[in-house]
């Protein structure tokens, strides 16, 4: 199925989906309730039966975007399926009944972003050590090490090491303004 045919079929099966095609990749944005239907359409109708990866993007005000990359080996067609979920209720049905390889990807997305995949057989942390608190890849998770360590580049040229912190200091890249709280 070519990209054009995929767009046409998607319009028929998933009327709520917004699709865009560019250079061998079709991106399909679906609402949360159509998530499993979209994945089933991709695998069974569009022929994208190779599961590549599943991850999330913290879009801050808009919510958390969960993205899946599927591929059709026969037609050489890439497909990105994306949905947006609110951060205060980050639940999504699991893709494991359709793609068993999504199991570990969903475990990682769960521990890094806090997305809860309903129906997942074992949503235990994959990469983070036991007792780790927080979801590191969310945008509001600051890199504590950068804020705690003195940045060697904070001093101006010619400024003495012992000068008082009277002027506004340069903030190192990666540390939000005003962090750590005084």
């Amino acid at each position: 199925m070519t990209g054009g045919q995929l767009l046409a079929e998607a319009a028929r099966h998933l009327p709520a989906a917004r699709c865009a095609a560019e250079e061998g990749t079709v991106t399909m944005d679906v609402p949360r309730e159509d998530w499993l239907a979209a994945l089933a359409f991709a695998r069974d109708t569009a022929g994208c039966d190779f599961f590549d990866w599943l991850t999330a993007v913290d879009e801050q005000d808009k919510g958390l975007a969960v993205v899946v990359h599927l591929y059709s080996i026969e037609d050489r067609q890439h497909l990105l399926v994306r949905t947006l979920i609110p951060p205060e209720d980050p639940a999504l049905p699991t893709a494991t009944p359709l793609f068993r390889g999504a199991a570990w990807a969903e475990r990682e997305t769960h521990e890094m972003f806090g997305v809860v995949f309903d129906g997942h057989p074992d949503l235990a942390p994959l990469l983070l050590p036991e007792g780790f608190e927080g979801h590191p890849l969310r945008k509001d998770f600051p890199l504590a090490a950068r804020a705690a360590q003195d940045w060697p580049g904070a001093r101006e040229p010619g400024e003495r090491a012992t000068s008082a912190r009277s002027r506004r200091r340069l903030v190192p890249p990666g540390v939000p303004e005003g962090w750590p709280p005084a």
Partner: protein, 143 residues
Amino acid sequence: MVAVDLPLPGRQGETEVAAVPVWVRVFDAGLACCAVEVSAALRRCASQLPGDAAVNVLVVAGTVTDKLAPLVLAAYRDLPGPRRVLSFGACSNSGGPYWDSYCVTKGADQLIPVDVYVPGCPPRPEALVHGLRLLLSAAGDRP
């Protein structure tokens, strides 16, 4: 982990020792990219020891993540004496480029006593030989 036996040319220094090869048994804890450089160095070494090894060396090569830290500790604990630790590469020296990560241990010396630090990202395979030589010249200072 791979145990390889590494013959080194005889030590040279102020007090010239007879050119007797010093045998070292190397245990490579290859955790990340530095493992490739250590493998490149150890490829050219013998795999059979003709005599007793002078010392067992645990080479920690690669990033030590918080999740893997207990295993590095266990590897050191299980290593029979006389034993030394060589930290290979920036990540196991101090956390390296990932020092600011949320899940990286800032250096293997946070867990186990390190005898020699080899800098590099990654160090050349020849740098491992430099590090092992320094280790042997300093090994007489400690039991």
